[in-house]
C-alpha cells in the first residue's frame, strides 16, 4: 500500500462504507472481527442496495450476509484478482482517465492480466469461471465500490504482493479517492493503527521515518538528546540503521542458529532477554519454535493484566518475571482507530490491586537503566517545562514531531475536544457542525496543522487540501524509465494553486513550486523538507496555496525495488497443488531477512508436501475472542461461548478418517508438530480444508500445561494453540507469517482413559 501510493492505511472509514454501491471482501470477516463496525456494511446493503461479495476459503458469518460468496483456495487471491483485471481490460470496464492521469505502469499489469483467462483462474483458485465473470461484472458495473481486507490477504508468503494487487484493482476501476470507494483494511485490535504509527515495527522510527542517519538526527534533536548518545546505545554505529527482528521470528534470534535452525545476523550474538508488553506471543506462528526461543532466553519479562501464557509454555524455571499491567480502563491517553482518527480515552478507575500502568513500568525501567531524563526530555520541550504531565505532554510531543503522516494537528487539547463533543459530528461523513464545524471527527491523519480539518478520505481530489483533499504522494522520485511519475494536468485537489502534479516540497524547491519568496527569517527557520521542518513553515505555505506538502504524484503499479516488480502469483510454500508449484514456484531463499535467513523455494521443494499433508489448514478468529485470547478466556461468560479448542471439519472429510462429531482428532503439521482438538462438524468448510481458531493456549502437543499457572490465575478455558501447527513460511517483504495457507494431516485421536 505505502509502496503503491504513499501511505499504508485504511483510505476511507467504516462509516464511509455506507456510501459504497458494491463491497468486495478478501480475507476478512468483519461480522466476527468487527461486529459493531459491520453495521455499516449492513446499512450499505439496506440503504444503498450495495452488493456484497465475500471471497474467502471459509464460509464465514460475513459470507452469510453476502450477496455472492466465492470459495477460493487459500493463497490464490492474486490469480483471482488478475482474473478480474483480465475481464475488466477485455471489456473496457477500466477508468481510462483515472489510470492515465494518476497511475504509473498499469500497462505492465494489463500484460500480466492478459494471461489470466477465466479458465486458468478457475484451475488455480478453484472458483468456477462463471462465478468470476459474475463477480467482476457486478463489481465493475455497480458504481463506486470499496475493497476490504484483513489478515486473510496479508498472512501469506506473497502477502505483500496481495496487498499491492488489491489497490491496483481499485486503481483500474477508478475507485480511489472517492466516498464509498477506497481500500479499507480492517485493523484487528484496539489501537493497532496507533501502535503502527508510533513505530512498533523493527524497520522504522515512529511515524514511518526510516532508519537513516538523517531521521535519527531529526529524532535526536526533537527528543532533546544528543545524537552521539543515541548512537552510543548501539553496538556500533552501523547497527543503528539496520532492521531488527520481527514479532514473527524473534525466537530465531534466541535460538541463534542452534540445531540446524535458521542462521541469524545479529552482531555475533543471540537474543538474551525478552520483554513482552501486552502481546499474545502464544498466537504467533511456529509455537514449538516460540517455546524453544523462550527456553533459550536468559530472562523473560511479561507485562499483562492476566498471565501471559508464554510463562507456562516455557520450561524455563528461573528469571521469568510476570508484571501486573493495568488495563486501558485504568489509564488515559489517545487511541487511534482503523480509519486514522484519534480519540481521547479517559480513565475509568485507578489501577486495581497491585497493577501498574504501562507508562509507570516503562518510566521505572528507564530509571533503573539510567536514562529516565533522556527518555522523558521530549515531553518538556514544547513549553520548556521543568516537569511533564502525563499523558497530555506525550500527545503534544507526538504532534510536534510526527510530520510524515501529518499529526501536527493532534494536540491533546484538540483531541479531547473532539471526544467530548462526539455527538456534534455526522456519523457517516464525520463532518462536524455547530462549534465543531470545519473539522472531521477524530481528525483522521494527515491533519496538517493545528487548524486543519483532518482527511477522512485519502487521495480525494474533489476536496481542497484544507478540507482533507490530496493527490497520491510523491514518494518514489519524479520519473522512472523516462516516464513522468507526477500526476497529469487536471488531477490536482480542488482549489489547488497547481493544475496537475507537483513534487514533494522541500527547502530548495518551495519558492519555485509555490511561486513565493520567503523572507530571510523564514529561510533561516525552515527545515530541509516538509518531513523534518520543525518550523512547519513548509506546511503552512502549502496550505495557503491549496497544496499537499507531500506532492501530487501517480500511484505506481510497479515497485522496482521489490522481488516481484508487479504482483505475481506464487504458490504457498506448502501447496496442495504440486503441478502448480512447478508453474508458480516461490522465491529464492532470502538471507538476512530481518536478521534471519529465511527459506522459500528450498522449503517449498523439500518434498512434495501434499503427499503426506493433503489438507489445507486455515486459521481465524471467533467473535468472543481476540488475539491469544488471554483476556477473553479469563472472562467467565466469553469463555462459556467456546469453552474448548475445536476444529471445524466437513462431515465427509471427517468420515474418511473415522472422526465423529465431538470426538478428538490430531492435526499434524509438516514441521513435525501436532495438536489434539475436538472435531466439530461444519458445512462452513469444504472437504479439502479445515478451520481452527487461534485464540487458545495452555495445552501443547497433547499435553495440558495449565497446572503451571500460578495459583488462581488459570483462565476459564484453555486448549491447544492453532499456531503450534501453522506452517513455516514468511512474507518476502514484511516477514508476516504464512498462517492462512498451509497444509496438514489429520487422524482420529483415541480417547485415552
Amino acid at each position: 500500500m505505502a509502496n503503491t501510493w504513499g501511505y499504508g492505511a485504511m483510505t476511507n472509514s467504516l462509516g464511509d462504507i455506507q456510501n459504497a454501491k458494491a463491497i468486495i471482501i478478501f480475507g476478512a470477516n468483519p461480522a466476527v472481527n468487527h461486529p459493531v463496525g459491520f453495521q455499516h456494511f449492513l446499512k450499505a446493503q439496506e440503504r444503498n442496495n450495495a452488493q456484497m461479495i465475500v471471497v474467502d476459503p471459509v464460509f464465514t458469518k460475513t459470507a452469510a450476509k453476502a450477496d455472492i460468496y466465492v470459495r477460493i483456495r487459500p493463497g490464490t487471491d492474486i490469480a483471482f484478482m488478475y482474473g478480474m483485471l483480465h475481464l475488466i481490460f477485455k471489456n473496457g470496464w477500466e477508468d481510462e482517465d483515472f489510470i492515465n492521469d494518476r497511475v504509473y505502469a498499469m500497462d505492465d499489469i494489463k500484460a500480466e492480466a492478459a494471461k489470466w483467462t477465466p479458465e486458468k483462474v478457475s484451475d488455480v483458485t478453484g472458483v468456477p469461471a462463471e462465478k468470476l465473470i459474475q463477480v467482476t461484472k457486478l463489481y465493475a458495473s455497480a458504481g463506486v465500490g470499496t475493497l476490504i481486507w484483513a489478515m486473510g490477504l496479508t498472512q501469506h508468503s506473497i502477502g505483500s504482493s496481495n496487498t499491492r494487487l488489491a489497490p491496483i484493482l481499485q486503481l483500474a476501476l477508478g475507485n480511489m479517492g472517492k466516498e464509498g470507494g477506497g481500500t479499507n483494511i480492517l485493523r484487528g485490535h484496539d489501537n493497532v493503527q496507533g501502535a503502527t504509527d508510533m513505530g512498533c515495527l523493527s524497520d522504522t522510527l515512529p511515524g514511518y521515518y526510516g532508519l537513516s542517519e538523517g531521521s535519527w538526527k531529526y529524532f535526536a534533536s526533537s527528543w532533546g538528546v544528543d545524537f552521539e548518545w543515541l548512537q552510543g546505545r548501539f553496538k556500533s554505529s552501523e547497527w543503528m540503521g539496520k532492521k531488527g527482528f520481527t514479532l514473527a521470528r524473534w525466537w530465531a534470534g534466541a535460538i541463534n542458529g542452534k540445531d540446524g535452525n535458521d542462521q541469524i545476523h545479529n552482531a555475533g550474538t543471540g537474543l538474551k532477554n525478552l520483554f513482552v508488553m501486552g502481546n499474545g506471543i502464544t498466537s504467533i506462528a511456529q509455537q514449538a519454535k516460540v517455546k524453544e526461543g523462550l527456553d533459550n532466553l536468559d530472562m523473560l519479562v511479561l507485562c499483562d493484566p492476566f498471565v501471559n501464557e508464554a510463562a507456562i509454555l516455557t520450561d524455563k524455571q528461573d528469571d521469568v518475571f510476570i508484571l501486573p499491567a493495568a488495563t486501558q480502563f485504568e489509564t488515559s491517553g489517545t487511541v487511534v482507530a482503523t480509519n486514522r482518527s484519534v480519540q481521547w480515552r479517559t480513565k475509568v478507575v485507578d489501577p486495581l490491586y497491585e497493577s501498574k500502568t504501562d507508562q509507570w513500568i516503562m518510566f521505572e525501567l528507564a530509571k533503573r537503566l539510567g536514562f529516565y531524563d533522556e527518555f522523558t526530555a521530549g515531553m518538556k520541550i514544547k513549553e520548556n517545562k521543568k516537569d511533564f504531565t502525563w499523558p497530555e505532554d506525550a500527545t503534544d510531543e507526538i504532534a510536534r514531531i510526527i510530520k510524515t503522516i501529518g499529526l501536527t494537528g493532534w494536540t491533546a487539547k484538540r483531541v479531547k475536544s473532539h471526544t467530548e463533543n462526539w455527538h456534534m459530528f455526522d456519523q457517516i461523513s464525520g463532518r462536524g457542525y455547530g462549534k465543531m464545524k470545519g473539522e472531521y471527527y477524530g481528525l483522521p491523519w494527515p491533519c496538517w496543522t493545528e487548524k486543519h480539518s483532518g482527511s477522512p478520505v485519502l487521495y480525494n481530489t474533489d476536496r481542497s487540501v484544507a478540507e482533507g483533499g490530496m493527490g497520491f504522494r510523491n514518494r518514489f522520485g519524479l520519473e522512472h524509465d523516462g516516464t513522468n511519475l507526477l500526476a497529469e494536468d487536471g488531477s490536482a485537489p480542488k482549489d489547488s494553486f497547481i493544475e496537475g502534479g507537483y513534487p514533494e516540497i522541500n527547502k530548495d524547491n518551495i519558492e519555485k513550486v509555490l511561486g513565493i519568496t520567503l523572507t530571510e527569517d523564514e529561510k533561516a527557520k525552515i527545515g530541509k523538507n516538509w518531513k523534518v521542518d520543525k518550523s512547519n513553515i513548509i506546511v503552512e505555505k502549502c496550505m495557503e496555496k491549496g497544496l499537499a506538502p507531500y506532492g501530487n504524484a501517480k500511484a505506481r503499479a510497479k515497485v522496482w525495488t521489490f522481488p516481484d516488480q508487479i504482483p505475481m502469483h506464487r504458490e504457498p510454500l506448502h501447496s496442495p497443488r504440486a503441478d502448480l508449484v512447478k508453474e508458480f514456484p516461490s522465491y529464492e531463499d532470502k538471507s538476512n531477512h530481518f536478521r534471519v535467513d529465511t527459506k522459500y523455494i528450498s522449503k517449498q521443494t523439500e518434498q512434495e508436501w501434499v503427499k503426506d499433508f493433503p489438507i489445507n489448514l486455515v486459521t481465524g478468529r471467533l467473535v468472543n475472542m481476540n488475539g491469544a485470547g488471554m483476556e477473553n478466556r479469563a472472562s467467565k461468560y466469553l469463555a462459556a461461548l467456546s469453552p474448548e479448542m475445536f476444529c471445524q471439519i466437513h462431515p465427509d472429510l471427517a468420515g474418511k478418517y473415522g472422526i465423529r462429531d465431538k470426538s478428538m482428532m490430531w492435526i499434524h503439521s509438516p514441521e513435525g508438530t501436532k495438536i489434539k482438538v475436538k472435531a466439530k462438524y461444519s458445512f462452513s468448510v469444504s472437504e479439502d480444508r479445515i478451520f481452527i481458531p487461534f485464540h487458545f493456549a495452555g495445552h501443547f502437543q497433547g499435553e495440558d500445561l495449565t497446572h503451571k499457572f500460578p495459583a488462581g490465575t488459570a483462565p476459564y478455558a484453555s486448549g491447544e494453540s492453532a499456531n503450534t501447527v501453522t506452517n513455516y513460511g514468511y512474507d518476502i517483504v514484511t516477514q508476516i507469517p504464512e498462517t492462512k495457507g498451509g497444509l496438514c494431516r489429520i487422524e482420529y485421536a483415541k480417547e485415552e482413559a
Binding site: 455506507q18 449492513l42 444503498n48 457517516i428 470545519g438 487548524k451 478540507e467 458445512f683
Partner: protein, 202 residues
C-alpha cells in the same frame, strides 16, 4: 413511555450476525450462572450458502402469556407496561411454564432447586422483580433493574448491529418502518455541509 405503551422485543433478521453481544451482556449484567440463558442467539443452517440466518431470542413478554395461565401457584404477574415477571418466592420450579412457553424462555438451575437465581429464571426485560425496587434482594434474585432507572435493557443497548430492538412497541415499529422505507435511498449523511474550513471562507 406513553401511558399505554407496551414493551416488546424485535430482532431484525437481516442485521443479526450471531455475535452473542446481547447474551453475554445479559449474563454479565445480571451475574447469571453460566447454564442460565435468559437470551440465546440461534443460528439456522450454519455454513450453508444463502440459507444461514440468526436470531436472538428471550422471553417475548406475551400479552396473553401462556406461562401465566398454566402456573399452578400463580406466580406470574404482568406489569402495566406489558413486562411479564414472576415471583421467585412463590415459584415451585415445576416447569409447567416451560411446557407452555412457545419460545423456551423459562430456565431452570442445574445445581438443585435453590440456585443463585431461584427456582425458575427468565428474562425480566431488565425490570427486576417483586422485591423492593433496586434493593439488594431484588438484585440478587432477579438481577439489575434498569427499567426503573430509565435505561434500555442491556442486551439491546449492547447489540452490535442494532438488530435487537426493545421498547414501546409503537417505537419499534417506527424504527423498523424507517429501515424499510429508507431501503435503496442512499446513505443518510446529515444534510449540512461546511462553508468554512481552515478558518477562512472557501
Amino acid at each position: 413511555m406513553g401511558e399505554f405503551a407496551r414493551l416488546n422485543f424485535y430482532c431484525d433478521e437481516h442485521r443479526c450476525i450471531n455475535c452473542d453481544g446481547c447474551s453475554v451482556a445479559c449474563a454479565e449484567a445480571h451475574e447469571l450462572p453460566e447454564y442460565i440463558s435468559r437470551r440465546k442467539v440461534i443460528t439456522m443452517n450454519e455454513g450453508i450458502e444463502n440459507m444461514e440466518y440468526s436470531l436472538s431470542i428471550a422471553c417475548m413478554h406475551c400479552t396473553d402469556a401462556p406461562c401465566q395461565q398454566v402456573c399452578p401457584v400463580d406466580c406470574f404477574y404482568i406489569r402495566a407496561d406489558g413486562i411479564v415477571l414472576h415471583d421467585k418466592d412463590k415459584c415451585i420450579g415445576c416447569a409447567y411454564c416451560l411446557y407452555a412457553c412457545p419460545f423456551g424462555a423459562p430456565q431452570f438451575p442445574l445445581d438443585g432447586a435453590f440456585g443463585t437465581k431461584g427456582v425458575m429464571d427468565k428474562c425480566t426485560m431488565c425490570a427486576g422483580g417483586p422485591e423492593e425496587t433496586n434493593s439488594h434482594e431484588e438484585r440478587e434474585l432477579y438481577g439489575q433493574n434498569r427499567i426503573s432507572e430509565g435505561k434500555v435493557p442491556v442486551c439491546a443497548a449492547m447489540c452490535s448491529t442494532k438488530a435487537l430492538l426493545v421498547g414501546d412497541s409503537a417505537k419499534i415499529s417506527d424504527i423498523y418502518r424507517e429501515r424499510i422505507l429508507s431501503k435503496g435511498h442512499g446513505a443518510k449523511t446529515q444534510p449540512y455541509g461546511w462553508d468554512v474550513a481552515y478558518g477562512k471562507k472557501l
